[in-house]
């Protein structure tokens, strides 16, 4: 926003954003289109777009004069661009939840607008044509870091509804930061799932010609329309090249890089398939397949909100756990060190977690142990520390990702009795636990 002083000056001259104005200084005049003030930088610097397309900022000083030259340029004609949808292809529903994927940059306002009509999306991503008969639906517009179990519920219900309505597959576009949490949540929530549910997003915004959004969307469409996978998956770039995507099991995916387009990797698992930009689907490991069945997909949508993910590290304080328990937390997933350890034998009482753990378990909390190593399996049998932790009642979560374990415990406590939840936490429900680890299940990123 511009400063109050400048806004008043604009008002006095009848100037609005988008008008052609002239800024006259002692050194000369500058003409161009008045641009909105970016939300960064100084509020008394006026930004104009020159005829050559460049923006420059000129400070409004005492001797600066502003004049209105003319009004806004005529709005671009044509408005919405539409493409015709090909009929007779597998029906796929695309649920838009937010983020820049499946959206279009408004060059005038600088804002991003969702493409909520299949015809608009097809015009924007013509490569999608001929893969599926798309139905596009915006169900929310939420940054992925702002997602809660309330949004998960909405997404699960919309997904189930789309499937029960005859969709051969569902694509969910999602911000990437917490995409793997949502993928886990949907994996646990959707029962009798008999079609592919493919979550995708973009690491580079779709306003650039190099965006990964387009290929991710295209590969997701192939996976949703043509694969026989009956699981919740994430479909994103396999490597920095625009050649193929990985289809990764929702409970085994993790964002492993802040910015690269191949940020999502399978952890303690193989990807299910590679999907090329041209549509070849190359299955590389076992998965749950589509079966002939009339069963409706059901979304179980309750979550226990009082569950936390807690990291232990040198000098970490057991007061953190005490605090959570005092606030009524019912489940904690610990991200321990190594095979699943934490400080319970230190002679410094302020750093020894044993008492706090005992207290938490006595209070009825379910405590699960995962590893901050991310890769590998926790084990309560090798070292005495882990044996002791298990003895206290800490549940060892095998090769489950900490984030997945967190979502799972929250889901279990939301839908089951505590005793059942404890048992189920250690058992595979949706591919989150494997009983053997293959030797190449480590990413080389």
């Amino acid at each position: 926003m511009y400063s109050k002083k400048i806004l008043e000056e604009f008002k006095a001259h009848g100037i609005e954003i988008g008008d052609r104005i002239s800024i006259i200084e002692s050194s000369g005049a500058n003409e161009g289109m008045l641009m909105p003030r970016p939300d960064v930088g100084e509020s008394d610097v006026i930004v104009i777009k020159r005829d050559d397309g460049y923006n420059i900022g000129i400070r409004h000083g005492k001797s600066t004069k502003i004049e209105r030259v003319s009004g806004k340029p005529a709005a671009p004609h044509g408005g919405k661009t539409m493409a015709k949808q090909q009929k007779g292809l597998p029906k796929v529903t695309l649920l838009y939840t937010g983020g820049t994927i499946g959206s279009k940059l408004d060059y005038v306002s600088g804002g991003v607008k969702a493409l909520t009509k299949a015809e608009e999306l097809l015009a924007e991503v013509p490569e999608l044509n001929g893969i599926a008969e798309l139905e596009v639906k915006q169900i929310m517009s939420v940054f992925s870091e702002d997602m809660t179990h309330m949004e998960w519920k909405k997404i699960a219900e919309e997904t189930a509804a789309a499937i029960n309505n005859g969709a051969k597959g569902v694509i969910i576009t999602h911000g990437t930061d917490t995409m793997h949490y949502t993928a886990s949540a949907l994996s646990f929530m959707l029962h009798d799932l008999n079609v592919p549910v493919v979550i995708t997003g973009a690491q580079r915004s779709s306003d650039r010609g190099s965006s990964d959004a387009f290929m991710n969307l295209v590969c997701s469409a192939y996976a949703a329309a043509q694969s026989d996978v009956a699981e919740v998956t994430i479909c994103m770039h396999a490597n920095p090249s625009d050649k193929e995507c990985l289809l990764i099991r929702g409970t085994k995916a993790r964002k492993m890089h802040t910015s690269r387009r191949d940020a999502f990797k399978p952890v303690n698992n193989s990807a299910i398939a590679r999907v090329s930009r041209k549509g070849e689907i190359n299955y590389i490991s076992a998965y749950k397949k589509h079966t002939e069945s009339d069963a409706k997909t059901v979304a179980t949508t309750s979550f226990e909100p009082k569950v936390a993910l807690l990291n232990t590290y040198p000098n970490s304080s057991p007061e953190l756990l005490d605090f959570l328990i005092s606030k009524g937390y019912k489940g904690i997933i610990l991200e321990g060190t190594g095979l699943g350890h934490m400080p319970i034998n230190t002679e410094h009482p302020g750093y020894n977690w044993k008492k706090a753990l005992k207290h938490a378990i006595d209070e009825g909390a379910v405590i699960g142990m995962t590893s901050q190593c991310i890769y590998g399996r926790v084990n309560s049998k090798v070292y005495s520390t882990a044996r002791e932790l298990a003895g206290l009642g800490v549940i060892y979560c095998e090769d489950m990702l900490p984030e997945t374990a967190y979502v799972k415990l929250s889901f279990l406590l939301g839908n089951h009795k505590k005793e059942d939840a404890e048992k189920m936490l250690q058992k595979n429900i949706a591919g989150e636990i494997t009983d053997r680890t293959e030797v190449d299940w480590v990413s080389d990123i």
Binding site: K49, T81, K243
Partner: protein
């Protein structure tokens, strides 16, 4: 050809691009040094044309549909990072680059914005993995004085260098990313240049000012001049990639000639009511043809398409530049679809071994009359169709006059070749990953106040070198920066530095030695070895020929090529060992064998010692 430029309504403006010699790239901290290592990997990318803002499909966009969209980028250990690969947001702008750009703006008396807004400029040829180039306007409203005149400098930009193309022919266009993102300064003039000679003079003057900043890269390719040329009856055509200033005036002259001839052709065609027909498949005429060029395509299941150009007879073959005809221009368009060329009706059919019978049949099929011409294209069907579409587009445009195009200067000639239609309004939008930059306006005011004129710098140089001619040459030379660097970092006499950088470098360059690739570190080391009497003057030249890249390489070469200077007792021993009848004979004997290792003056003293005065 002599033109009256004023009468023609000649308009010409320059865009000078100069790579800066900063320690890092503009928006990441990769090295800007010459990459000598092999790439560590390649990344394949597919770029989409981001749909236009207006939704309007124009000629150039339809042309783009035939363009390559798949690219391969070579990645290097030290000169490529995730920012270059569009895998990480940009870092803050290089302060060194900004300061250099402002210093150049100060030389041009430009105004600097209070807030510099980094922008993204869409790039469609794949030369940037992000599909846009980061660019910011750092100066406007400047003025350049040259000779007796002056010209406005409406804009100065600081932007990212593009990737260098390695291979454009294969399935993928292959680019190297070592050069990508190096800061580049662009200085534009207003289109008020009055004739080709003046264009060259202004380009030289801008080049000089850029070098005065002391921070520009040297060597071929580090400076590029684009020229915009139009005449009243023509249109704006951009000629890209002029690397040698020497040819600038000749190239502009040729472009004016081209525009005049194309305008004449358009007038003539319109008067004749010429028109362009529709393509017809005439493959059957050529069953069993003797023409190799057609037969080869038919063997590969290709087709022959033909189109009538009504009332074009004689015009397609009309020369518009030396060795270039309207047919060449039509063919250049068709080639963009992947054919080797076209056959047109103003050519001799015997050249292609097309028989009289085939020609008759063709005339019948295309319904040609005497004053008509035609185009033939033989290729695989989809390629032939696209190529014919492009060819007909160009033929159609010849009725209108000069098509707005971006053209490339051809190597070893003054003519140009079609690259692509001139893009419409450039698509620019803000680079939202970088904060706007507030330049230090007080520092800029000081730069403007304290800047030295070229004349003042020349005077200082003359005092330093002690030779007016060398000083003058140095000021206009690419090696000016190396001179400043060596003056600052070595103790060698200025006139020796100057004569080596000017005369020796030119001599070696003419011999085809890539002397401009020598590194500053190596240069410094060579001169240090000289000033410490470890090598002789001739040794300097020997080392330069080897174009070393580091201090270690210089030391290595001195050993390997036995370039160590002999001195003191060693020289006296040489004189005794090679003693001849006279001082001259002794001297000659020694110099024949040891000229690289013995300093002439020192040898004379030693000889005098033994032979007496």
């Amino acid at each position: 050809m002599q033109f009256n430029y004023k009468e023609l309504g000649f308009k010409c403006g320059l865009e000078i691009h100069q790579r800066l010699d900063t320690s890092t790239k503009l928006f990441c901290r990769c090295s800007t040094g010459q990459e000598t290592a092999e790439p560590i990997m390649s990344v394949e990318r597919y770029q989409r044309a981001v749909a236009g803002e207006t939704g309007h499909v124009d000629r150039s966009t339809s042309f783009e549909s035939g363009r390559k969209r798949e690219f391969k980028y070579r990645v290097f250990r030290n000169t490529t990072c995730l920012v270059d690969m569009d895998e990480e947001p940009p870092h803050h702008a290089s302060q060194e680059a900004l300061e250099t750009a402002l210093r150049i703006a100060a030389y041009l008396d430009a105004s600097v914005p209070d807030e510099i807004e980094p922008m993204r400029k869409e790039v469609v040829d794949g030369s940037n993995p992000s599909a846009f180039q980061r660019s910011m306007m750092i100066g406007y409203g400047g003025m350049l004085k040259f000779g007796k005149g002056s010209i406005e400098i409406p804009s100065i930009f600081l932007e990212e260098e593009s990737s260098g193309i390695e291979d454009a022919k294969g399935e993928f266009a292959v680019y190297r990313t070592d050069r990508l993102g190096i800061p580049l300064i662009e200085v534009d003039t207003s289109p008020a240049i009055s004739n080709p000679k003046e264009a060259k003079e202004i380009a030289m003057q801008i080049g000089l000012l850029l070098r005065l900043s002391g921070k520009v890269q040297r060597g071929i390719g580090s400076i590029r001049q684009d020229v915009n040329v139009s005449i009243k009856r023509g249109t704006r055509v951009e000629v890209k990639g002029l690397q040698e200033l020497d040819r600038m005036d000749a190239i502009i002259e040729k472009e004016v000639e081209r525009q005049v001839n194309l305008a004449d052709i358009a007038d003539e065609l319109r008067e004749k009511k010429a028109s362009v027909g529709s393509p017809i498949d005439i493959t059957k005429i050529f069953k069993g043809t003797q023409s190799q060029i057609i037969g080869n395509e038919l063997k590969k299941n290709g087709v022959v398409l033909g189109t009538r150009l009504a009332k074009f007879k004689g015009v397609v073959g009309r020369e518009i530049n030396e060795g270039k005809r309207l047919g060449t221009e039509i063919s250049d368009y068709a080639k963009k679809a992947g054919v080797k060329g076209i056959i047109h009706g103003d050519e001799s059919m015997e050249k292609y071994s097309i028989s009289g019978h085939e020609l008759k049949e063709l005339e019948k099929e295309l319904k040609l009359s005497n004053d008509d011409s035609f185009i033939l294209i033989a290729a695989e069907r989809s390629v032939a169709e696209k190529a014919m579409e492009y060819a007909l587009l160009r033929a159609e445009l010849s009725l209108q006059g000069v098509p707005p195009e971006t053209r490339a200067a051809e190597p070893n000639s003054d003519t140009t070749r079609f690259m692509r239609p001139l893009p419409g309004g450039s698509r620019m939008y803000p680079e939202t990953d970088i904060l706007p930059i507030n330049p230090d306006k007080d520092a800029y005011a000081r730069m403007v106040k304290n800047k030295l004129s070229a004349e003042e710098i020349r005077k200082d140089l003359e005092a330093d070198i002690g030779n007016r001619q060398l000083a003058e040459q140095m000021l206009w030379s690419y090696t000016y920066q190396s001179y400043l660097f060596l003056r600052e970092n070595t103790t060698v006499q200025p006139n020796l530095i100057a004569s080596i950088l000017l005369e020796k470098f030119t001599e070696l360059r003419r011999k085809g030695i890539a002397i401009d690739e020598i590194s500053n570190e190596a240069l410094q080391s060579i001169f240090d070895n000289y000033s410490k009497s470890r090598i002789t003057k001739l040794g300097i030249e020997e080392l330069l020929k080897l174009v070393p890249k580091s201090k270690a390489e210089v030391s290595g070469y001195i050993k390997e090529k036995s370039l160590s200077r002999l001195s003191g007792k060693e020289v006296e021993k040489l004189v005794r060992d090679n003693k001849g009848q006279s001082a001259e004979e002794t001297r000659d004997r020694i110099m024949t064998k040891h000229r690289l290792n013995v300093d002439g003056a020192e040898l004379n003293i030693a000889i005098r010692k033994i032979f007496g005065e």
